[in-house]
């Protein structure tokens, strides 16, 4: 069974989704990610979906879960590279993903995470 690789990029973790995801793969990813956030003391997660051509409510839920769980572990999630066709479909589907931050690509995502880190009021620097 495929596993989605999680790469460490400085204080952040980069997850690049390139396969049509199975439920089990998605569950494994969420488990592994939460463990890595803690063990690496990551301050942010970059979820790269630029190779994903379909996001249905299941994947949408997974993205939402990852963002919520990361936040609880004091890491921000940024979803990068959403394709236009996917964005249009999600809007039509009514999946707003309102509390999720997004960026056009990994670079922009990292810039967003950095500036978010700076304006982290009152949180102790790690």
């Amino acid at each position: 069974m495929e596993r989605i690789p999680i790469l460490k990029m400085g204080p952040y973790l980069l997850v690049t989704i390139q396969v049509d995801m199975h439920d089990r793969v998605a569950m494994t990813l969420q488990d592994e990610l939460t463990e890595r956030i803690v063990s690496e003391r990551a301050r942010g997660v970059l979820l790269d979906i630029s190779s994903v051509d379909v996001v249905d409510s299941f994947i949408g839920r997974m993205i939402g879960n990852i963002a919520s769980m990361s936040r609880i572990l004091d890491a921000e999630t940024v979803v990068v590279g959403m394709r236009p066709a996917v964005a249009i479909t999600l809007v039509e589907l009514g999946l707003a993903l309102p509390s999720i931050r997004t960026a056009l690509n990994v670079d922009a995502g990292m810039a967003l995470l950095k500036s978010a880190g700076k304006s982290n009021n009152g949180r102790p620097a790690r």
Binding site: R83, P84, A87, I88, A103, A108
Partner: protein, 284 residues
């Protein structure tokens, strides 16, 4: 269907004579576009068709049968070519219909003495050729419609180019009335350009749009939502008083979208959000 096979055999034997008559009829039909078709080409095309026709007819006179597939494919090719060349649908159908006379002549020679048999043969031939003739017009229609469809798409794309105003800022000046179809194409184009240019802000200017109805307003909102999902943002500029009224009457909620009166204002806001400033240098 021994009779069919006999006639098919006859068609093959008398091919040259039939072709001569048939091409004669095609050329004399006043509508034939001599400028578009050379006689040698016509002969080649007609001969090929006649061969396939004879082969299929030997098997059955039911054009819906699989034996007629090769003939139909051949006809479809011819129709396609003629549609693209600019022939009218009747000119294209004439290709098939003008084959009636030569085949009736042949049938007359074969079965003229037997009234009943002659009538049957005539009926078979005429229904067959009618169906094939109509088939050419169907194919013709399809081709013309797909050409028109393609031209419409091209026109829609050309008429609303996305302009890169600055690093990370693009603008889409919309002009003219927007219908649901056009709006969708235009919006998809905008999103694609946002990805290509890495723009963080897209300004949609509707100064040149006289009216906005519910569907268009909804499309605009969806475009803004989709842009945000992708990681960029939108500013809408050029909302004229009448449109502002329409939007309020329609109950569309613009609260969390930045709107500016002019494209210039929107550009200023965009620059500000990106942390850029513009300074004038004073000449000494």
């Amino acid at each position: 269907m021994g009779q069919n096979m006999q006639l098919a055999e006859e068609i093959r034997n008398r091919q040259d004579a039939i072709l001569k008559d048939w091409i004669g009829y095609q050329l004399s039909a006043l509508t034939l576009r001599r400028d578009l078709l050379k006689e040698s080409e016509l002969r080649e095309v007609s001969q090929r068709f006649l061969e396939l026709f004879a082969e299929a007819f030997a098997a059955t006179s039911d054009s819906a049968s699989l034996s007629w597939k090769a003939v139909k494919d051949n006809l479809a090719e011819i129709s396609r070519a003629r549609a693209l060349q600019g022939f009218s649908p009747s000119e294209t159908a004439t290709f098939v219909f003008s084959l009636k006379q030569p085949l009736f002549d042949l049938a007359q020679q074969r079965a003229g003495h037997d009234g009943k048999r002659f009538a049957e043969l005539l009926w078979d031939l005429t229904t067959l050729l009618d169906k094939l003739g109509l088939y050419t017009t169907e194919v013709y229609q399809e081709i013309r419609e797909s050409v028109i469809h393609r031209q419409q798409l091209e026109l829609m794309e050309l008429s609303t180019p996305v302009v890169q105003l600055w690093d990370e800022v693009v603008a889409l000046p919309l002009i003219g009335t927007l219908d649901s179809n056009r709006t969708q194409v235009v919006m998809e184009n905008l999103l694609q350009r946002v990805v290509e240019t890495g723009a963080r802000i897209a300004i949609i200017d509707i100064t040149g749009v006289p009216t906005v109805d519910t569907l268009v307003a909804q499309h605009l909102m969806k475009t803004v939502a989709a842009t945000r999902l992708m990681g960029a943002d939108c500013i809408i500029s050029g909302i004229r008083p009448q449109i502002a009224q329409t939007i309020v009457h329609l109950g569309v909620n613009l609260n969390d979208i930045i709107t500016k009166a002019t494209l210039a204002d929107a550009f200023q806001v965009a620059l500000h959000r990106l942390g850029a400033t513009v300074t004038k240098s004073v000449l000494p």
